[in-house]
Symmetry: C2
Subunit: 406 residues, 2 copies
Amino acid sequence: MPTLSVFVDVPLARKLEGSLLKTYKRDNFPNKAFLAYRVCMTNEGQPWVSLVVCKTRLHVAQDPSLNYEYLPTMGMRSFIQASLELLFGKHSQAIVENRVGGVHTVGDSGAVQIGVQFLKAWHKDAQVVYIISSQKEMHGLIFQDMGFTVYEYCIWDPKRLCTDSKMFLDVVQQIPHGCILVIGNIVDCKLTQSQWAKLMFTMKSKQIFLFFDIPCQGLSTGDLEEDTRILQYFVSQGFEFFCSQSLSRSFGIYDEGVGLLVVVALSSQHLLCVLSQLMNLAQALWLNPPTTGARIVTSILCNPALQAEWKQNLQEVVENIMLIKEKVKEKLRLLGTPGSWDHITEQSGTHGYLGLNFQQVEYLVKKKHIYIPQNGRVNFSCINANNIDYITQSINEAVLVTKGSE
Amino acid sequence: MPTLSVFVDVPLARKLEGSLLKTYKRDNFPNKAFLAYRVCMTNEGQPWVSLVVCKTRLHVAQDPSLNYEYLPTMGMRSFIQASLELLFGKHSQAIVENRVGGVHTVGDSGAVQIGVQFLKAWHKDAQVVYIISSQKEMHGLIFQDMGFTVYEYCIWDPKRLCTDSKMFLDVVQQIPHGCILVIGNIVDCKLTQSQWAKLMFTMKSKQIFLFFDIPCQGLSTGDLEEDTRILQYFVSQGFEFFCSQSLSRSFGIYDEGVGLLVVVALSSQHLLCVLSQLMNLAQALWLNPPTTGARIVTSILCNPALQAEWKQNLQEVVENIMLIKEKVKEKLRLLGTPGSWDHITEQSGTHGYLGLNFQQVEYLVKKKHIYIPQNGRVNFSCINANNIDYITQSINEAVLVTKGSE
């Protein structure tokens, strides 16, 4: 009985991500470099793992007191509590008031997925989403697939080579009433106190719903508290918001991606209702989140000695990234590369703009086998002693070759 | 600036599951019993974990050769391969022909979630879903939330106290052309060869899309191959289908719930297209699946000695369940409980119908503190030496007390 396939009309999906990485992997050029990894890399070119994670992983596997039952759909209670305290501070008033909570989520997309599903169902007035460009590819599509109209905004000024807080203020002024604003790398928004006050006033009066993304707390400045200070300021000013808190990168447990969808509400009653709806969504998505990642994170956060060791690890990583940036700048200076390169060290965290234009990026990718996203935002931890000379010389060449074309 | 909560209209979600368990937990009656756990329980009343899992877990945590990078969105390749071979047999012709594949999924709902999302997008003619009643609560709501019209069917005949294959044939005859049929506990469908042939002919001519659920291969008959023989028959007969394959219960890694959405297509080209679309969906759902569960399963399945040990564990568990059922039947016989109780030992697997009517179930729950789902389908592994006397005496009492009321 010959049958026509039920899948006959299913086309091959366009690749959303990974084509740059795929091209890189296929490339046989000996000096090729990939500067677009999502995660923090070591000097040896391996994904960074906090040393304390390795021993905790072993400890967790050996612990005879653990059971292997299903977690409740909401997730591991102690993990949620420890993660919230990490985000908002141990003595956060909002935690005491029981108006912040979270759902244990899976992978690096789970928190955004569940948050977007909630907004679709329960915040029906919001049809439009403004999303920071760095988050567009990863999270913008989730909103888009759910029927939201998604616009991208950028706070990097490619002419002046700096993060421009005025651009952020303008975005908030211009976006429509009642829309959703997705804010990533908030540490880079260096506004003054009065600018923040003005911004918050506009946000409140326009009833803009904020969706923060904290993908790697501690890896921006090396200081866990500093990295979320502004988030705490929003809480203290009576904002309600969602926040996708990912723990994978901060601990180097990429293979056990865990996180939270964090909910900040005005009252514990509202929080309870929102969490109960999120739980329904989680039940349909995965029913029970996996435990290993959450157990590792919780073991470290709840043990002062392990936590101190982890913080120390984070600081070393961030210092190392700063050192790489200094070296890149210094090497470009010694090569006499035209232009100022201060913006490299002025940006915090693993990722930052090289400050190259489209032609220069294309030159690096096509001619020099250095793989960089089109917007020129690279992961500086991918640069190390083995490739820094080739990379800086290539940048120099790209700038010189394309000099006349601007 | 006082603000009205954006969450003001969000109601408390109704609890979908767990209310029976909640009532049980709150109950202070010393002899209370809960017979509705999803997982296989030990004689000590703990969730069963295959012994080989414990040492593999430790081995995985100690393995210095493992890296902790993100898995690709599709999941762990070796895990997918090993799981497919477990389901279809190592020498499956369909695997050789490269027309079966799978996406590594999260938790006990992930595979169904991603499959339903795909069907919504790419099998638009199918609006109606017929789902086996045992799966209705867990998976029916996922279809429902996605806009499908969901009907429940049952192949248990409460009068004759047996699984009735004719009921299954009738269901397939009656359901509309082009609908989706969700089939669980296929081992219980004891059709003859010619009945299967007739059934398949009807399914094909009505273009019914099959969505199998294999939640605990090996725990039905104790024989891994026997548990999926009919699935393999469907493959050999040229069916295309989806199958939610969960590995959590077969290994006792409930806390690291992993599985696959298995796709069987008519050709490798179709398979490739379907998998690429599923990958897009997985990217939005969790981006990268967690590894621990998959690593444990793969380590066991790819090591003949460990696999043999695991198979031995499964057999012991199933023999133990059969022993419990025999004892329940024998005790009811000794008590002189009216009726035949052969149906208890005629059903395979952890879960089965006690064969009690609504009043009898209600009597057990309300008067005897024995917590049983309304349909009287219990998890026999929850019965052990400590509670079997109380449970059988209570069943006897329930049958006697409600005797006149039918």
